[in-house]
Symmetry: C2
Subunit: 183 residues, 2 copies
């Protein structure tokens, strides 16, 4: 998150990701698995639509954090899903990105390295704000650290831990839209 | 060139370009043209290799100019080819990008709008520096402007016009590697 990505690096990573997908299609075509290749293409298109949705949330710092996270070395892989097309109100991108970046950093050091850890993030909106579900599957070795982080309180952010165990962490973050007074 | 691209925009444009390629593969597969789909994949891989080569030239400003040019509205489409994998010496990225940006801007306003104009750039290296071929095909309506630009002299850049006619412009730019004294 601290890294200041430049355009050349961003394009290099994006190219690398896309080429992996192209190679997957190519591999299946060379094995004559045309139907599987078509399925992969459909999955790629859905994934790109998710990326477009995340872009459209108008949260550039938060989106950049999610876009680049798997390009760095971390103890977990990140996935995300955006359930709504656009937000009805505005969120504070800076506060949201700061909390999410700190959460990722905490989980990164608390999760077991070289284990297959996954974090999935879903984003949905409600009348008064946006809801973010963070669902971790893998192994957490440093529970103390994780608990300490999750017990902290943050302005404009409401975190509810639904499950916190060694092999599962699920939490919900609610963030209200800007009130008129703040805009 | 003046535009300051941010990561979200860069990724949006890159995603758009890659999705177009994926759709081309998809279209051919749905018409059962598997061999054509395979050919397209090979073309995509070659194109990505060119992008990687341009990245490796260690000319970030120049590479960014070329990467983003077709994302903006211009009177010609840009293509490029990098003939060597790496440069044996260092070039002044700033001077090169400044000249190339000015040349593109001049050609952009001198070329006939809404006509199919193309500019192809090839980059090769020699013992003492790098050589850039600019090959334009299309229609130039403002020859005066083009001539005036090409008659200007630039420090560290040597431009040789091979052909300048209404429907053809070919020129060679030579740029010497940094001398020891400058490094």
């Amino acid at each position: 998150m601290e890294k200041d990505w430049n355009m050349i690096e961003v394009l290099r990573h994006a190219r690398h990701d896309w080429l992996n997908k192209i190679q997957l299609i190519k591999g299946n075509l060379s094995l004559n698995k045309v139907d599987r290749a078509k399925e992969i293409i459909d999955e790629i298109v859905v994934e790109a639509q998710q990326e477009a949705k995340l872009t459209n949330l108008n949260l550039p710092e938060f989106a950049s954090l999610l876009f680049t996270y798997n390009w760095e070395n971390h103890s977990f892989q990140l996935e995300y899903e955006v359930l709504d097309d656009a937000m009805a109100g505005r969120l504070d991108d800076r506060i949201l990105s700061k909390w999410t970046g700190s959460f990722f950093a905490c989980l990164d050091s608390a999760a077991k390295t070289y284990h297959e850890n996954h974090l999935s993030v879903s984003i949905s909106q409600e009348k008064e704000g946006a809801r973010f579900f963070f669902d971790f599957s893998g192994i957490i070795t440093d529970m103390d650290r994780m608990e300490k982080f999750l017990n902290k309180e943050y302005a404009d952010i409401c975190v509810a831990v639904q499950e916190l165990a060694e092999q599962e962490l699920a939490l919900e973050l609610f963030m209200p839209f800007y009130s008129n007074g703040r805009e």
